[in-house]
Symmetry: C2
Subunit: 201 residues, 2 copies
């Protein structure tokens, strides 16, 4: 008989081999021919493992997002004040150049899932949202038990997620200073930060 390849594995390998290509070119300037060349296979072979271009890009982006989620979980478990956890939670995608490259891809992902109503992609987004809410709830709960958060203040994780989404989207605008916006928002939730000591040292 003929060779039987592990479709799942090869699919993942193709995706992995094109991560850098995607970061470099962005979604719209990424062609199937490029992907095939980079993966070292024929153009037609791509379609043995993926439905369409969207499917490939989605697969690659999935790998980025799950890494991001891992880092968010680390933050939620870190031994730092609650307010700082939240700051890092929001700021994680902006804090350095690598993060910003990932941010760009995440924005492109949002753009696609905003226009193409592919069921699979929506489901994935919903799972992400659930995960974000879960992590945020962990942060909020430990904040309440530690007494940092007023139990009656009723900060909702889902509101925080919406703020975070808005932050990602509006960060494209030069008039939106991400760091400042996060501070302002946290000030609304926590009250003005007592000392600005952190800022100058």
């Amino acid at each position: 008989m003929a060779i039987i390849v592990n479709k799942e594995e090869k699919r993942r390998n193709i995706a992995l081999s094109c991560r850098e290509l995607l970061l470099e070119h962005g979604i719209d300037n990424l062609t199937i021919s490029q992907i095939a060349r980079t993966a070292g296979i024929g153009k037609g072979t791509i379609y043995e493992y993926f439905e369409n271009k969207e499917d490939i890009v989605f697969e690659i982006i999935t790998t980025f997002i799950s890494e991001h989620e891992k880092r968010l979980e680390e933050i939620s478990r870190a031994d730092i004040p609650t307010r700082e956890k939240l700051f890092h939670f929001f700021y994680l995608l902006f804090e350095n150049e690598t993060a910003k490259r990932h941010l760009n891809i995440y924005k492109e992902f949002l753009a696609i899932s905003l226009t193409h109503e592919a069921k699979e992609m929506l489901e994935f987004s919903e799972q992400c949202r659930e995960k974000f809410i879960m992590i945020l709830n962990r942060i909020l709960e430990t904040g309440i038990t530690s007494g940092e958060l007023d139990g009656q203040m009723q900060i909702s994780a889902s509101s925080l997620v919406l703020f975070g989404t808005g932050l990602v989207v509006d960060s494209r605008l030069s008039t939106c200073d991400v760091e400042k916006e996060i501070e302002i928002f946290l000030n609304t939730l926590f009250g003005e930060r007592e000392s600005k000591s952190r800022e100058k040292k």
Copy 2:
């Protein structure tokens, strides 16, 4: 000589004649040929008045957004409680079917401006943001002078805008109940709503 047409006016007319077409098909499924046919002109003529497809779509969307801004201003000036103004501010794009069609186009606009870094489009987005902030500030200020808002609570308009952006984006997810999310968020800002009277009648 030959006829001198009013370029600005014709440009606007082409855009206006294609509003319905855009609402119907969405950006990606809207072709230049369709636009030309609908506007009753040749395909090449399009490019006398627009740089590219993006430019046309942008022009059409601009008309929608400025209408939306007008409605937001009306809300800010309405004679209703501050909290209700904010609710309508956020809910305006979701409250009926026409609004939802406009929402879809707005999402597509976000998607484009999220990926294509065209200067003109970014500038327009920044102007929108400024306008939203201005309107929200008017709402907040009258709320403070009327005593509905605690002057020290320090709600920031820009935070509200970010929440609103997030709402638009995440509203695509079936797990995001827009109305509920707005209520939850307002509860965080205003404290739990005293009576739920409004809900049942």
